[in-house]
Symmetry: C2
Subunit: 412 residues, 2 copies
Amino acid sequence: MSIALTARAGGLDRLHAATDLRGRFRLPAGVVYLDGNSLGALPAGVAEVVADVVHRQWGNRLIASWNEAGWWDAPTRVGDRIGRLVGAAPGQVVCTDSTSVNLYKAVVAAARMRPGRRVVLTDPDSFPTDLYVTDAAARDAGLVVEQVSPAAAAARIADIGDDLVLASYSSVDYRTGELWDLAAVTGAAHAVGGLVCWDLCHSAGVLDVGLDAHDADLAVGCGYKYLNGGPGAPAFLYVAARHQDDFDQPLAGWNGHATPFAMAPAYVPAPGITRGRVGTPPLLGMLALEAALAVYDGLEVTAVRERSLSLTGFFLQCLGELLPELAVATPRDAERRGSQVSVRHPDAYAVVQALIARGVVGDFREPDIVRLGFAPLYLSHGDVLRAAQHLQGVIGDRDFEREEFRTRATVT
Amino acid sequence: MSIALTARAGGLDRLHAATDLRGRFRLPAGVVYLDGNSLGALPAGVAEVVADVVHRQWGNRLIASWNEAGWWDAPTRVGDRIGRLVGAAPGQVVCTDSTSVNLYKAVVAAARMRPGRRVVLTDPDSFPTDLYVTDAAARDAGLVVEQVSPAAAAARIADIGDDLVLASYSSVDYRTGELWDLAAVTGAAHAVGGLVCWDLCHSAGVLDVGLDAHDADLAVGCGYKYLNGGPGAPAFLYVAARHQDDFDQPLAGWNGHATPFAMAPAYVPAPGITRGRVGTPPLLGMLALEAALAVYDGLEVTAVRERSLSLTGFFLQCLGELLPELAVATPRDAERRGSQVSVRHPDAYAVVQALIARGVVGDFREPDIVRLGFAPLYLSHGDVLRAAQHLQGVIGDRDFEREEFRTRATVT
């Protein structure tokens, strides 16, 4: 059976050879890295760019680099490069701050764009920072938060009617990897005059998100998962062009001012997406992210999605054959699957540690999830089979019962 | 006369030899860099640390670095290192976000700490982002902003009385370099039950700020000026230990949660200064800043201040002899002087450009300020004299009338 799977993996790798871009990454040998949805791998060329930023741009050219190295425009320039991957025409995405900070801006700005309305809808199973920030922004903006699953959101929105300010949803569930139909949520929100905000942390770079095509209003996402920008890479904020004049965000820092160097006493927001900026951008991280995005040069995100579905689909096949009893938390239907496969196990934490000891790096999510992310560009179907075989080994050999795998680290 | 100044410079450099730490920096040859109050120079060792973060910590160890390389605790660890330089005992400073974002947190949190009060006081001549963010936070928190010079603040605070929420002031004026008596403002604010927030952007690393000693409540500052953290280095936030339980800041991101990896549905702020965190920290910039702070190892900030005053004092002497007609905007009294000397000139922009062409790098600030920052650790009295001589040359030779120096760049 494993021989058949090996042959299958080889065949699929030949079929998808055009999107095998592992050569564009610097991964350690002997590792199957299934955690690119937590921290993307290091792309080739990034270290060289960062060294140039430090030695030449900063060390040698000092403040002259604000102009001559394009530091000042980096947030919108990098934003446009991200925009291409999430289906946003230029001028609608800015690279800035963290996802949490950008979501705060989006929720408060949405409240101001829909005065008199009160309800923000979000997913009870959102990544927690989305819940925390939505609650905090709602409190500050005088809104009420309702938690409704994305599957039930459209129906609930119809009930809420013209009291809806914003439906704020992640396109992919960070735990289960379920891909939601945010186009349907968006249609429902627009039908009652409300707005949507899409959280693309688990979609940007691997899914054909299509922000413009689906008439999304606002979106946020991070730079360090599938965009491979490095640890704590800056995040991004999308504001559809039609809303930018009305986008009145609370963090009125000088980088978002119309004339920042005039040092004018009153805040006048810059035209366009620049008003999403706040303070001086974190240039080391932002220029690393810019260099990392070169991985996507010459590549359409539809091709990445195709490879992703092939990898996750094949992994599900492997599990079906090697571990038929295992509970899979991710939908088997390709249309409902992000770029990850999560399985449930009562000893999920120890299973993840035991996998890591075998060179298969995934992560644990409370309460019982073994989460395996498939960053398509640097993974092969051969890697996928190896991961499934090690998972079979960990469970079959009961590795997860070993004490060494059960001690919790600070950050899991 | 210049011979006497040369001898004087040599004598002062011998006198202050113990704090000449230029060897700890990587500065380009032939430049007198007087813009360390805009972007600090590159310290030795930073490039090596950043390369290690990229190649080994990120590229090779991937997510394991969250634990084993101390990524998760970096914001408080680096915060404590900054704390030492601003007179804050450990556990009161966190390195996070930008100054603008941190000021927003501070103003909104202050409003919540003083419910029922309405007035925030700030300086009309503050760096603009302070004005913009204070206005924005006041609007969101239902406060009224009054702009009063720091010199008049104590008297005005006594009038405002128990309606005062917060007096939010920079310790050094970014344009003129005037050092304000924030201890007096703090005493006045406390006398009426109000709070203070000190902006340390132009003080941290060069002045004996003494946050704890002066009973400051809140403070913010940036990492890329005298702390030499690199372009867009993360900023910092100080919350005095006695206020931390009541510090309820609006940007309730998951990094500030008491149990971030429990993925709990409701926000519970972490104990201590950790609640000032928001999203995933910008690690490339933060670890560069941490490496940069090694410059201060074995050094007390009082010694840095002493060297700073000698440098700026000598520069004022040089100006007095070489350019006696020039209007100096910075107080001559050492007690009222930060670590910069600003002069006024009707063609200030062109004067700065002409100085840069001669290898003396300062910057221009609207409307007529030639701003020269003295980062004490990498400047000598010989550099100071050279700068004064070139300024004399630029003005005497009327370099500033040349067209090439009058064309404005994007970022000035």
